[in-house]
Subunit: 365 residues, 4 copies
């Protein structure tokens, strides 16, 4: 399905970095969900580059919803959101050598040179603005059903944030207000300094995002092929720069014994819970009612000012490139909002498939 994700609740993305507008269409939304444009704007602000650790490109992100909303609520028919590309300087981007680590070469090959190469075209992280706007419609609806999604920069430039506390709900609500989402502000300062240091060298850094989802009912997901992990990783791996996804203790589970890795069940307040959550809230591909926990590896931004060896796909000749233009020395803190967004959309789809189209709008939890 390419640029469309989902089965019951779907999102379709379009647009290029330097085209006139980018956009997203969400279909399958429950009718009657309140649409809060101020919240959408605030989510776009979180995604937007800011300060010294980000590209100097500034986008007003003046989105407009052109369908699917009537008198402040979703209609149940497709919601299209459009965002004009206000600040494009195409002069900075001519087809030239393929930027290493970028899609320039693969796009040239796949599209036989017909792709819009300016600023990464359809591959640009810019397109995620539309995704963030679309997801901002459903995030409050999920929250109204008790489902909270929060992500922190768990690691950046080799510096670890502290882990989630025992009060996960408070952590999530706090993180969702932060432009640079860390649980420990001091660690965040260190990360930002490390980003600035890399930027000063013309280089970039990567990091790890850790996401928690609270309030998901048990029993969501499918045994084969559409496990919760399959569906979420499908969405997460289309976030630019994500190169790894792990659930619960993930790769660390590989070194454990079964007696450590298994989360013992117990009863607390009449409810089945697990004593630990090494499996990240998923057993056999199905949610078990514990917090859903996963981590994404985000590679360093490939656009760097340092000289790199590369090839010009048009001429097929080797050359040297120092990427010019405005670029982020790190993307991990901005990718946070995108990871939350695709998570929200994927969960809406899974929940709608399980409980029907109208569930998200139903007043009873």
């Amino acid at each position: 399905m390419k640029n469309t994700f989902g089965t019951s609740v779907t999102v379709t993305l379009f647009g290029e970095s330097h085209g006139p507008e980018i956009g997203a269409v969400i279909d399958g939304l429950a009718p009657g969900l309140p649409v809060d444009e101020a919240f959408i704007a605030s989510r776009l602000t979180l995604r937007r580059p800011a300060g010294r650790i980000a590209t100097a490109r500034q986008e007003a992100d003046a989105f407009r919803i052109v369908s699917g909303v009537f008198e402040g609520r979703t209609t149940g028919t497709p919601l299209a959101v459009l965002i004009p590309n206000a600040d494009t300087r195409s002069g900075d981007y001519q087809r030239g050598p393929a930027r290493p680590g970028h899609a320039d070469y693969t796009a040239f090959t796949k599209y036989h040179g017909f792709e819009d190469y300016r600023g990464g075209g359809h591959f640009s992280g810019r397109i995620t603005a539309a995704l963030v706007a679309a997801a901002a419609v459903v995030i409050p609806a999920l929250q109204a059903k008790g489902i909270l999604i929060g992500t922190h920069v768990a690691r950046c430039a080799g510096i670890d944030d502290i882990p989630f506390s025992s009060d996960l709900a408070a952590d999530i609500l706090h993180l969702n207000t932060l432009p640079f989402a860390v649980l420990d502000p001091e660690r965040g300062d260190q990360m930002r300094k490390a980003i600035e240091t890399a930027a000063a060298k013309g280089d970039s850094v990567g990091g790890i995002l850790e996401t928690a989802v609270l309030g998901l009912p048990a029993g969501v997901g499918e045994p084969w092929f559409d496990t919760v992990e399959s569906v979420l990783s499908h969405a997460l791996f289309s976030v630019p720069a994500v190169k790894g996804v792990e659930f619960g203790d993930g790769f660390a589970l590989a070194d454990m014994n079964g007696s450590q890795a298994n989360d013992p069940f117990r009863i607390r307040d009449g409810k089945t819970v697990t004593a630990t959550n090494r499996n990240g809230g998923v057993n056999g591909g199905i949610t078990n009612g514990m917090p859903l926990l996963f981590r994404c590896a985000v590679k360093p931004t490939p656009s760097i000012a340092l000289e790199q060896q590369t090839v010009n796909p048009l001429t097929g000749e080797e050359t040297v490139l120092a990427v010019k233009g405005r670029h982020d020395p790190a993307i991990v803190h901005r990718a946070r909002v995108v990871a939350d967004s695709v998570t929200a959309l994927a969960l809406c789809d899974l929940l709608a498939l399980r409980f029907g189209t109208d569930w998200l709008a139903a007043s009873d939890k």
Copy 2:
């Protein structure tokens, strides 16, 4: 799509651990592919438990293809393969306490207690036999097009195998003959001993699988949502016990600078290649013609003989469980064949979408 995976080439799985038969249906195959039943049998043998490091359950895996093959070749219509469950001892499996780390509790919740709980039912690793049989139809066809898939146990019980050598094709061909797939037999012996040690304690171990795919053309995959990483991780996370997937250097990329993480392009023998392959053969979600490389974290088998705290979902009461019956003290070496199988099926789908239904059967590479 639940138990069906794929868009152009699809696979549908059915069956339960202790039902009469399990099976798979592949649809969308090119007509005219030779079907080698001996090869299918050999792949099932690789998946089958063997020796002291595996469950004592022995299955003849007497598969039969009931459709989609005529006079030794695929017809282009759905190919169904069935495998009887010969050796089921349902007496060993009565509904009881939920096994920690297993799907027992989530299946009970999702299916309201109507699931076939015997031996894990539809969640059992047993079902992967049908998947392996189905994939064994397409693996030789991929190979005939120059596409080789190989996986080794890169790590098990804390012991690392050696990395792939520079002769990746030789490594892959060698691995595909091994019941316990490691590049260094000594490390393999150590792993097996560690598995036996864990088994003797009534415990289990996990590991990491590393896969290489050679010969994929550049330009396969989509920018948003159906990236090669998205499609493959979707498939891989439905392999039981997989809890993490990373491409190229994956999580290690999070700690690199852009200048390290970017793979410089160069020209070799008139072809664009990269000097390193930290991105695992994928840029911007699209194959770049370099070997596709990824790793899966496989958690330790949850069925262990040691006592564990758990809950009986029927009664909602806490209890203690020591899993009886025949179980694997490690699954990682058997999951290898399953990882290869879902990789082969996912690649067939991506290739058919790109190049059309008949591509896999075309005689020119």
Copy 3:
């Protein structure tokens, strides 16, 4: 999706006319639905050729369900049903001239000569036995929710049956017991005689099926692309020999004025109904709560004993053919069961997408 139909509730078909077994997999069923094997058998009997107006081929249709049912109820995981092909006489079917009106030539072209050509292979009406068996699992569940499906042979060999009466429920229940489903037994006798007359001449006849569905809730279907009419016609046009589908007054609406064609709304017993039902229970692609009514044109069986001009696809030469073997002089009365079956499956899918996976099993209507 080729041989798989549906989104939330899916059915996958496999098998060939002269292969060892045919089968179907239904996925997405609500858990806990009672499975009545006697009812399945009775549905297969209705589909089976019988008497002088049918092919002499006799199939015991000894189906077996190999997954997805446990202790007499659906588990919620894929249900696979298999039917052996007991009575195959492949000697009757060698690759020869393409039978006019059949898929022989198109299959040869599409599959480059690799198709199983015996008895029409995967294109054979024989495959519908698996479809009928699969649908027989959900028909009682729909009925338990008050949704009744019934079809009569509205026309055959130029002879009309009488229309549905005002007691549609009684009509449906009566039709579902009849091997040759007509509302007026005398008209049915005339039809059968006309079929026998055609058979005696080595020829065949066609007809029209009219289906009524009672008890569908209003609000099912989608405005664009997945209208109720789109989804049902998609299913119905894959019933072999169906060449036309119309809803409500269908083609007759083309000659009406709006003032005739519009169904006036009114209130009866506190419920919104329409005074007439020329739109067949669908407005704007969405059910309106009135009976769903549609008709399928079924062409005469293409296999006839009379000599026909044709071509041998292997040699590319013109030739003459008189089809031998056992064939139906009419298919319309047997296609009835298939039309009901695809209708039931398509409705299950639409209802599950709207109301969630478990709706069909919920005890409250």
Copy 4:
């Protein structure tokens, strides 16, 4: 998939009759297809109401393509086309009684009263402008591959047009230039007069569209579920007002004998053809290389000035309605362009699945 149609080439629709903009996204297009904005505009003009036989609503249809086109050619990434709703007079449309024959009542029921009811909202025929614009991108590409699509008003208000001539290509090319597409201009005049007569009475008329597709390769379509007829009818039944679809001789086949209905094969100029084309170019759900022929029944426009009995969904009370505002006394001649458009999009999808993504752009036929 609701408002998205297709598998490999997809189209997603959004917008409401009185919202700010409507739009369509096509994904999966081959890269490098020339995009002719003048042709798109001409197609929109054909769809647009004109003269006395149409609504007085006038739309400039000033479409803009915001993505997926670069330097005049498709990029291969999603193409989004937007059309502002210039001439909306919402004062004419307040929520009131449900218009009989329209989606007002079903939309109210499905969306619980949250739908944008103005002018039919998302159900409005207005949305088809976006569909027509999207399809206008692919129609010249199909034509460049020798695939021609043409539709005439075969019947309107009880008046028949003449049948297609033996020079189908000429007929199609001629039809595609006509605002009121008939093969015999005199019959067209009679139809238009009949429409005006109905309009003068405050009533409306329906008709039948007949479509021919030339140049389709044999072997397109699937045996079960995705037959050419299934896929096309799925698309055609989502064209507003279509209530019947038949292929070849369709319902007339029901009254034929097999010896009449079967199209004899023969060899002409070294190619297998059929002597007649009663099956409309499809055997067993697969194209046979003959012209694809089908007909759609279009019901009379439901919006009429005459008084009708109806119900107010908000109050649940019976009332009387005479529809005000600007409406078409016939829609069949405008639906022609929409039928051609969905046909073109559905064929692109089927062809891309069969021959790969790039086929449509390949220079060799």
